[in-house]
């Protein structure tokens, strides 16, 4: 997939203590090379602008219909946009008074973003926290992210990157690596075929990149999302564990699965992927696993 020229950002999450050490601000990039069936943040898959519809916030004024030049607005209760006609111009979202329609994905100049991230500097300092780039997949934009991370490092901010591992190592090494303190690296499925089947890509590159990264002088934490029916088999977990250990890494963090993410598909007009029916009901309240 060809990334957009400019990265779009879905959200800047300030004050999280779940995305690395201390208090952190997390930048969620839009666009991801994988398409995991269990994806909890489907709005971060597509690198282009998307328009989300949130029926609860719609007051039914149909200002959006007037704003749309593509005749893509539908009068239904739960669907507002005919995605086949929509050109993603976001005119409708800009005019919507109730935020029933929302633009997903905004572009920030690097300096602008750094300025925003530095606002929380005192919080990073008092908690030994910092900034985390996440997504989607931040490594899709090595140039942009490199500049961003360098700027943060110049201000003495601790930096972390969350990645799915599917990236071009040389660009990563050149642009990003020098400015990163910590990489949180997802390893989902160890078997190549299952990996392709459930995430849309082969895992060869991911595993290779991991091995190379483990030799760098950098903190590396592998993370395994626990998705019942996909990643939680004994076989998979022990396979990952063996692989990681072979790379000389002793710690691994387990991410509990939050089925609440599922409902998000609807908002952006995508069909929810079929998932096995064995999802646990109470996992939603769990915080991510500790190493």
């Amino acid at each position: 997939m060809m990334p957009e020229k400019f990265p779009l950002i879905v959200d800047i999450g300030r004050g999280s203590t779940e995305d690395g050490p201390g208090v952190r601000t997390t930048v969620f990039f839009k666009g991801c090379p994988l398409s995991c069936k269990w994806c909890q943040n489907p709005e971060t898959l597509d690198p282009q602008v998307e328009i989300g519809f949130y029926p609860k916030d719609c007051i039914g004024c149909f200002d959006c219909a007037i704003a749309c030049s593509e005749d893509a607005i539908l009068p239904e209760a739960n669907v507002r946009i005919d995605r086949s006609k929509c050109a993603r111009c976001a005119q409708c979202a800009d005019i919507c008074p109730g935020k029933g329609l929302r633009r997903i994905g905004n572009y920030y100049e690097v300096e602008e973003l750094i300025e925003i991230l530095l606002r929380d500097r005192v919080f990073y300092e008092t908690s030994d926290g910092g900034v985390t780039l996440s997504g989607g997949e931040p490594t899709l934009w090595p140039g942009y992210c490199g500049e961003l991370l360098r700027g943060l490092k110049a201000n003495g901010i601790h930096t972390a990157v969350q990645t799915c591992g599917y990236f071009d190592y040389s660009a990563f090494e050149k642009e990003l690596l020098p400015w990163i303190d910590l990489v949180m690296y997802d390893i989902k499925i160890i078997g190549p075929e299952e990996h392709r089947q459930h995430t849309g890509r082969d895992n060869k590159k991911i595993l290779e990149n991991f091995i190379r990264l483990s030799k760098e002088n950098i903190e590396l934490i592998p993370r395994v999302p626990l998705i019942p029916g996909f990643t939680t088999s004994e076989e998979n977990l022990s396979g990952i564990s063996n692989f990681v250990r072979a790379g000389g890494i002793k710690e691994c963090s387990l991410l509990h699965y939050n089925p609440l993410g599922l409902s998000k598909w609807e908002h952006i007009g995508k069909a929810e992927p079929e998932l096995p029916r064995c999802l646990p009901q109470n996992e939603s309240e769990q915080s991510p696993g500790q190493p």
């Binding site: 999450g13 203590t17 208090v23 601000t25 935020k99 005192v122 919080f123 908690s127």
Partner: protein, 806 residues
Amino acid sequence: MPIALDDLSLKSVTLDKLLRLKKLRDVHFKTRPAVCTELPLLMTTYMRRMDNASDSQEVRAAKRLKYVLENKKPLIQDDDLLAGTTTTKTKGMVIYPQFMGQALWPELETLPERSKNPYNITQAEIDDLNFKVFPYWMDGTIQEVCRKDYNNPTCQKIMERLVFFLGTKAHVISHTVPDYEVVIEEGLDSIIKTTTAKESTETDHKKKDFYKAVRTVLEGVIAYAQRLSKKTAAMAQRELDPVRKEELMTISKICERVPEKKPQTFHEALQAIWICHVALHQENNNIAMSLGRLDQMLYRLYSDDIKAGTLTPEKAVELVGCFFLRLVDHVPMSPETGEELFGGSGSNQAITIGGVDQNGKNAVNELTYVLLRATELLKVRDPNVNARYCPDENPPEYLVRLGEVNITTKATPCFHNDVEVIKTLLAQNYTEKDARNYSIVGCVEPVCGGKTFGHTGAIMLNLTSALEMALFQGRHRLTEEEQVGPKTAPPSEMLNFSDFLNAFETQLIFLIDQSVELNNMLGKTHLKVHPLPLLSALTKGTMDKGKDVLEGGATYNASGAAIIGLSEVVDSLCALKELVFDKQETAFAELIKAVENDWQGYERLHQKAIHSENKYGAGSREAADMTKYLLDFLHTEYQSRENYRGGKYTVGYWTMTTHAGWGVLTGAMPSGRRNREVLPSGITPVSRQAPDLMESLGFVANLDAKKIANSHALNLKYTPARDPAHMIPKFASSVEAFMKMGGLQVQFNLIDRATLKDAKAHPEKYPNLLVRVSGYTAYFGDLNKYMQEEIIIRAEYDLDTGKEVW
């Protein structure tokens, strides 16, 4: 003495070991408060039979108080280690006939039937008040004398419409920290010596009378202590239990010595303060009479006793616990609607711990931790515990401990940033030493304890009223067609936002002027009707000047205004500017119609107002500028006005429960607010308008503290974590960061919304649930439904995600 505690949390000291405290605490929670008529009866009897009208007012007041103290029943509660009680009841409502005691008159017979906060009262007590007390004072209350003397002034009439501002002086002036240091370091006899000497050499009649009055009341206090001593001695004689007998004998000996003489032990010091506190409450209303820096004042005796082996930390927790449980032996008077709209408060007596000493060095000591342990064990609403914290000077384990106590008590102590508070006080012309020695009055207000007479709660101004009057040309929707303020331009004539701001400023200045004028009239009336010789005796500066505190006798003089509805008004001004002028989404007249109709039929506009990006606490430059403008304006205007004692007015942003009460009286606003919604508390953002914790903390921290000289209350809720140990460091680092960014004050409720909702629906499941209101702590079940609702909807943040939880 370095801190020698193995465990700063003193976990081994528990209520199961301190059975006395457990028992006294149970009594406190089980006792329904009752009206006490002792004070008003004694006062009335004195005035009818003994008062000599040819004496000066000061001397009359002194003799009257002395009579009260000489005739007040000397009592000690069973098992207690401290003698003396504010009233004759276990938990007594004090009636002050010269203040607004009569407000209770209509409901005397139905007090026990109140649905919220009922009080016991006997038929004999009803008759006493109805036949003897209240009729005597009908023309003699401060409120009515003021009305008469100033010929029914406009400012008083406006205040009595209740929605614009409150001038509290007719009811209460306490809001101060008396000089208990002199009680501990010298004893009352040293003041008596000074005042007697001055009395004999002074030639100015007025001053001479003042000195005489001071001497008279102090003699009264000592007489009360002596009677406590006799009483406890007599009780000891009859006591069969040898342990209690011994205790009573000790107490008797202590009361014989203090507060007349300088206390020699920790126990004596606490007893000395308590007797003075009881005496002060016979002169001053029992609202927000605060105690100062207990961990500093009492430390010398504490460490002496520890060194001598006569005291242990555990024993100290017990004594402090007895002291705390004494502080809850009285409740303020409040009529039923007052209770329903503004009430649920305890007496709100603040204590201050931690921070730096007069040289700017860490002042946290062992006693600080003893006080914290007592707070944690008792979880009572009084005292209101205020922790001073100086980043980089106070040790990190102190902050961690404060976090821990907050998590266990769910609501206390609150936090004050030494760096900012001291800066603020220096800007108010305090000396560096005095500024560093600040302590907290009432809710959050910093003063130099014992030196400032700062009636910090003199004025409560409803800022939304000024906005309302600017929208409706000087009228208010509640008072309908009446022209309350000056007639400013109608919306049709406002061509740009500054036209509107002009109108807003005109109305605001009008309200400020009225509130100040009333406060000054009430202050002068207070001096005329009810001078305060005892409070003057316990305030520094008065002896040199020979003047009552009400005349400017204190070293520092100020009056405090508290502003209600700041964030709401910022959001409304921003929305109005954006929708009407900047983006021209609507005509001004339309917007006014929309708020008049509570947004009914104006859905689109309503959504635009709600979703405006210019919201207080949400990272908007526009809102930040608007807030700065308001802070500057209010500070400059109030500071430029002088009070009746030659002091300045300071401005603060804390609301007690008025934001709930006033919210109910306030209509829809341009911000998107709807009719009757509660207003945000203190300086807190409007709920759901500031989704990021860091952003809202940063927003408030960036406000210029020097413009907030009467301090503020930033009220936040954090979702409690399942594992407190996991939460403490996060909690502590959020406070530390807030302070490092320049935050002045912050306080928390560590209860989630679901629990609070459940507590509202099933009060019986949550007896004595402690919550922070806006400044003070209260029991959730005592609060009116509006206040409960406000605490429920108040912004709650999850420390894991940093997001507002909804």
